[in-house]
Amino acid sequence: MCCLAAGLERKIGIDSRIMNQLTNHPKLIQFIGLLVIFSLLCFFIAPSETNVLWRFPSLLAGLPYLINDSVEYLMFDWWPIQVYDPEIEEFEEKPLILQVTRAISASILFLIGLIREIILGGFKTIVTFTSWDFVSENKWARWPALPWTVVAGGAILLGYKLQGKGLAMLAGFSTIYLAVFGQWEPSMQTLSFVLFAAPVSFILGLTLGIWAYKNRNVELTLNPFLNVMQIMPHFSYLVPVMVFFGIGDHAGAIATIIFATPPMVRLTVLGLKRVSPEVLEAGMMSGCSNFQLMYKVLIPTARRDLLIGVNQVIMQCLAMAVIASFIGAKGLGFNLLLSLNGLRIGEAIEQGICIVLIAVVLDRLSLAWANKKTDYFAELTFIKRHKYSLLFLVILVAGSVLAYVGTFIFREGYNYLYIVPHNKGITIKDTLQNGVDWIWDTFFFALKGFNVFLIQEILMPMKAAYLSMPVAATLVLTMGVGYIIGGIRSAAIVGGFILFIALTEWWDRALITMYLMSFAVIVASIIGVTVGTLCAQNAYTAKFILLVCDTFQTFPSFIYLIPVIMLFGVTDTSVCIAVIVYATVPATRYTVEGLRSVSPDLHDAGSMSGVNRLQRWIKIELPMSFPHMALGVNQTVVFALSMVIIGAMIGTDDLGQYILKALSDKNGTGNGLTLGLCVAFIGLAVDQVIRTWANERKKVLGLA
């Protein structure tokens, strides 16, 4: 009897503790309630094609056609103007947009061609100013290529001038690698593409950013577009660009610019806003005109953020190098795509390294360029002042002489001192391929076992679970989460995004994308937070891991596909692992940044209260840095989504695959854009919830 009473008491004690917990955390009750409703809905809604609550009717199925029709009308019927046609010597009626896009295409093609021919030589630029007849009659009218030795020398010199020996060595190693491995021509094609797209994106982004900074309405208008554009998959731009601009380097460049500009706009606005008001006032009191204020005070002061923008632009341009090759951009990306399609991994590794090297060198050069300083005191002679220009002239002459000498050495075949022709350099692709084969042979069973395990035990059940959710239940769940975290507004926004997807005919595909994404995000976050936490314990390891993150972020996204195909072949596992690796980078970075930003005073306060390391982590560091880490998870979602879609290249059956299909469809514009919007909306829904929560939390903690 006595025992029973004690037991009862204990039970009541536990109950009351739980009750306390619940009343202290009203949101917890809401969440539990939400989960109960969700389960009930899942249980009671019958999975049948006729049940509206199971799958909504695709009311938006007509949207792609509507988009197609509008695009077609815009391109071929809208606003006809009179255009003089020199061939039939008559005025003809042609639609305005078509003329505009043709003109843009032509000028972009000319500029890319110009840069390309300065490096690689050619005659098309000369043709533009004269005629084909002139060029074919005059054999001398041909722009010579810069010998690769000159480009390499120039890169070394630039690296040395901007930073010093280290960068010079990196630049030298990279350019020589490109030449020696016979990737010179495609590399320079890619480079010329970047040298055109990056400055244009930079200027465009800067201009829009300044405009948005000066005018609040512009900023408010631009914001939603930037949100969608940044999260929309690369592929879905390609179709409309193709329709408007056709196929070729120029179309690739335009797609690249569209993709690379938004981060630049973002960072410009952010950077300008962060300039301290006193610096702005100091500029005004120095008597700056508006122009001087912008270009001499605001922009240089915001340099850090703008540079990150430049960096992002360059990275995006290189990331697009492969993707743009789908619509005809030439260069390394195109070759890499071919190698990957043909499963020639050794070759792909070689080409991948080229792209990475170009990315790293451009990244470092652009950073160093912004940090250089001038010395006013040295009384410099002419030679000293123009030291580097003169040195470059010397290199130019020496390289040309060397190339000329080369014509005598390599009497037959190729002049290796002038230009190393494509695929005629040294190659270790066979060795690499053998290595890959060896890995395959040796670890076949282990890899295969892992592969089968992952697919059968984790991925397939998870996919099935996602697909067995009734759409009504999903909608209630997401809106409920939105409501609990951000109130009616968040619920409406999230609900709107999900409803849009649910009303298209691709809801099932979207569920597959979500499953791939959420699996990758969960794993990436666990790895990222763990690694980040371990490394953040110490200043050196923290610095080291941030450097690693920097380096990994420099790699264009599709590079990650090479090693996973190498290990797991063309399977869902490959996609998953590539996504996880790619998405772990932001998770780790934000964890380290969040933990390191916890003020040392708090550490000391903790130590004096007698906490041990684990307690400090749990009770002090984690709560303080959690909002920042949540933003990291947000980035992880964005990264994962973009990689999942790129994963379509090695075969998935989600939205990405359909976007890829839209590429080869004549009327793919509508499908491509609508699918792109679906992907973007998944990301934006998650973004809305996490960002709202993180901002609220930061306010509570007094961090914002």
Partner: protein, 356 residues
């Protein structure tokens, strides 16, 4: 520094503010018109407006140093920004050398700033991407002076503020005091007539602050600019000012010489500041001297009537006879008795007040 000379009528003040208002908010102008100049901060706040400066009037004659003192949120920095037109005053008139500042075109304003005004900021506001020399040369280059010439002039400024050897440092490589020296040098590079200083030494350590104040006094002794100086530090105001304007909630509570403010605080608020101030550090001999009594035998020691009591107290108290006080032209203008100096040093506050 010139002493508390009264504003002479024939010379025009360099800065003149008449009933300046600055009210932040959407319909500030309308509300101000409705209130007919009688601004009640509470009423405005309920309407969503914040009163920054409320009916401020003052003049700064040539070569004078006016310190605007107030706690944070008192509107002192806003007042300074109105006078330099970094913000537009909501109402009132501001004249710079007799020219209407608020009616100026943007072009004329830029011209004025390029030639007549210099400003020093609390957080230094140096351009992070420019070296010391480039920062100082910046206002000159903005004016269109070529690199060679502007750098040469900047070099002179570097010497003036004692930063030689650090010309090619970036701001981030300098200490706070050094950064502010750059800020000062930059504000002086165009040789302005009017010098605005917005809490220039507030962000510095006490020791460095003292050093910078001395440096500032030395510069002002050489340059003799017309100065509007904002601070929240009453001691700093007393040390530097020819005249002090004490602000509270946007209103100038009292505008007078340091001695008068300490001796005759106009409001309760001002009195709180002055309570703790050691009088001997503020008052000049002039305020404790007696008229010349020919029957009295004076000591051989002579002190200037402008001398701060603290600096001469020991010498005066060491004399057995009263000490002669001399004016600017070395004529004896009065005598100071040690009893009065002792009063200032050790006497109660009541005693000090009685004398006036």
């Amino acid at each position: 520094m010139s002493s508390s000379s009264p504003i002479t009528q024939d010379t025009q003040p360099v800065i003149q503010c008449n009933s300046v208002y600055k009210i932040f908010g959407d319909n500030a102008k309308k509300m101000l018109q409705a209130s007919k100049g009688n601004v009640d901060a509470k009423v405005f706040q309920d309407a969503g407006c914040i009163v920054g400066v409320n009916n401020a009037s003052f003049e700064v004659p040539k070569g004078d140093l006016l310190v605007v003192m107030g706690l944070s949120g008192s509107g002192k920095s806003t007042l300074l920004r109105c006078a330099s037109r970094l913000t537009d005053a909501t109402a009132g008139q501001i004249f710079i050398d007799g020219e209407d500042l608020l009616a100026m075109s943007n072009k004329r304003l830029i011209e004025l700033r390029r030639n007549k005004m210099g400003m020093v900021f609390q957080s230094f506001a140096l351009l992070p991407h420019k070296t010391v020399l480039e920062n100082i040369a910046f206002p000159l280059q903005v004016k269109g002076i070529n690199t060679h010439e502007s750098i040469k002039r900047a070099k002179d400024m570097v010497d003036l503020v004692g930063l030689d050897g650090r010309e090619n440092y970036f701001p981030r490589e300098l200490s706070g005091g050094q950064q502010q020296r750059v800020g000062i040098a930059r504000s002086l590079a165009v040789e302005p007539d009017i010098w605005f200083l917005d809490e220039p030494f507030s962000a510095l350590d006490p020791l460095i602050r003292k050093e910078m104040q001395d440096e500032f006094m030395r510069l002002q002794g050489v340059l003799n600019k017309t100065i509007l100086f904002v601070t929240h530090d009453f001691d700093e105001a007393l040390r530097l000012a020819d005249r002090i304007a004490i602000m509270k909630d946007g209103i100038i509570e009292q505008l007078d010489t340091p001695a008068n403010i300490v001796l005759n605080p106009a409001t309760e608020y001002v009195r709180k500041f002055t309570e703790e101030v050691p009088r001997e550090k503020v008052l000049r001999i002039e305020s404790v001297m007696d008229p010349v009594d020919t029957s009295e035998v004076l000591s051989d020691l002579k002190v200037s009537k402008d001398a701060i009591i603290e600096t001469v107290a020991e010498a005066v108290l060491g004399q057995e006879k009263p000490v002669a006080v001399i004016g600017a032209d070395n004529q004896v203008v009065g005598a100071v008795h040690s009893s009065k100096v002792i009063h200032v040093l050790f006497g109660s506050r009541a005693g000090t007040e009685n004398r006036n």
